[in-house]
């Protein structure tokens, strides 16, 4: 019975401006999102003469993989690809490990209330403030430390800018984890580290994975610290693709191929974990 009522209800709210307007808007939305993506992918497989053709070739009949091959042979994209993977990978690893330790301690640890309040406040502030504000001093500090153009400096900066969100999200997961097991562990003489490692953290594994995905996407896409702290050998993909525009004129084929290289992995990752992605983004924005 409930089912039939539900059936009748479908597309009721969403037609609040009338069905025709909904259809028109959604078609517009669909095209405006998918067409650029389509254009990127087709440009990446076009021959050089085709991407400057007039009129533009909307449906390329002859396609090629040459742009992807040239990306690695001529434009040296392997290094940036490895850099991006290392930066995003290590940032995710450090953020999740350090973030979970801190979140656990804030929820289940024995800390003065004042410390908890101060730290939570700090995380909220840091989540808001713009990276550009520290960019120039960071550039100055890392150049003094001779750590410019070194991916470790990028990992440090990315980790520090992802940690506040990671902690805020993980605190939510740790609060929801059943506390009885924590108490039981305590009665059986497990210390805090054992309770963290063997009891409570395994229960929030799903949360760690979701938060890890968000961190991976954010640091994979990161550009500002990349452009400031890398000169040559530490460049991530995002900095390299920007270089296609500013340094090399209109090399559209390889540029589009590199765009695919940047976009498609995170797109697949997000779709595989769509539910986690949505709830993570919502919690990140709305939790205080």
């Amino acid at each position: 019975m409930a089912r039939s009522l539900k059936k009748e209800n479908t597309s009721y709210l969403s037609n609040f401006l009338g069905t025709p307007i909904r259809v028109i808007f959604l078609i517009f939305l669909l095209i405006s999102i998918l067409f650029p993506l389509y254009w990127l992918i087709t440009s990446a497989v076009k021959f050089e003469k085709d991407y400057f053709a007039q009129p533009p070739i909307i449906f390329p009949l002859k396609i090629t993989g040459i742009n992807f091959i040239e990306l690695f042979t001529r434009y040296g994209a392997l290094r940036p690809l490895i850099n991006s993977l290392l930066i995003a990978g290590f940032t995710t690893l450090f953020s999740v490990i350090f973030g979970s330790l801190a979140a656990y301690s804030l929820v289940n640890g024995c800390l003065p209330k004042k410390i908890k309040v101060i730290l939570s406040g700090w995380f909220l502030i840091q989540k808001m403030y713009p990276a550009i504000v520290v960019a120039v001093p960071v550039f100055y500090v890392f150049s003094k430390l001779r750590l410019l153009d070194n991916i470790s400096s990028l990992i440090i900066m990315n980790t520090s800018f992802n940690l506040p969100l990671v902690i805020i999200l993980l605190v939510g997961f740790y609060i929801e984890a059943p506390y009885e097991l924590e108490e039981q562990g305590m009665l059986e003489g497990c210390n805090l580290f054992q309770r963290y490692f063997f009891i409570t953290t395994p229960m929030v594994k799903a949360g760690l994975i979701a938060v890890g995905m968000l961190t991976f996407i954010a640091s994979w896409n990161e550009f500002l610290f990349g452009v400031i702290l890398s000169v040559n050998k530490a460049k991530p993909l995002t900095v390299t693709i920007a270089g296609f525009i500013t340094d090399m004129g209109l090399r559209w084929g390889p540029m589009a191929a590199m765009g695919c290289l940047i976009i498609i992995p995170v797109l697949l990752l997000m779709w595989m974990m769509q539910r986690d992605f949505i709830s993570g983004v919502s919690a990140g924005a709305l939790k205080e």
């Binding site: 009721y12 709210l13 650029p36 840091q126 403030y129 589009a256 995170v266 997000m270």
Partner: protein
Amino acid sequence: MARHNVSIRYSKLDIAYSWIFLMPVIIILFIAAFIPLLSGLFLSFNEYKLNMPSIPMHLIGLKNYQELFKDELFLNALRNNTLFAVVSVTIEMILGVMFAMMLSDDDKLSRFMTTIVLIPMVIAPVAAGTLWRMMLDRTYGVLNYFITLLGFSPVSWLGDPSIAIYTIIGVDIWQFTPYITILVLSSIKAIPKSLFDSARVDGASSWKLFSKIILPMSSPVIIVVMMLRFIDAFKVFDTVFVMTQGGPGNATEMLPTYIYQQGIKFFRVGYSSAIAVVFVIAMSLISYGYNRFRAAQLRRLN
């Protein structure tokens, strides 16, 4: 955040662990956020050019700040950024809420479109900027091709100083409207279904449901999201960097790109830090005002 429980007795070891667990985070934030912030504050009172190491750093007091408010280029960046923030966030909010409504049912179309809407959110802003720049090229761009098909003359999207900023706004709208849609959508989904059912029994139209139930009930979320987007709009960097580099002329120069230009390109570390300090103070005031507003609103709701 705190858990109160009487049966808990922490051992000394537990207390030590509680602190040890916090240490990595405190150390990282200290090194990578707190120290740079403080050194930025310090640098802002100095004259220091990274490309001229022969002239040592020296204190010049408030000179950087005095220069700032006479700097036509800074004021220009501030104006551009404010225009950018107000226009893009306004349009994003209207479209975002509308799309959220249009995807709020549980039908196949809504679910499919939700999956599609997520796409721009995970695309690196740099990649989105690159992609749009390719599509918006005056001569070879596909958008101008469509426009000429419709009988209009091609537009110089990024080359015309009076248009370029609106082009950047358009790309921002493309990329961030989905963010608002997703957040507002989850707030609509959180409203108990029974509320709608009883209103419908009373003969309320879906527009009534929207204006009388959904809008008031999701307004806290809408306001939070709007504020977050407004603050984010002052962090715009990647898109401008790849699409216009602040040009043509200074038509799309924003505060972050101006800080970058002064500090990294012209090596004026002191001056650029002064801009950053003013910037962060302004942002803090905005978020403080917003928090006050939000607290007042929550009080009214209760």
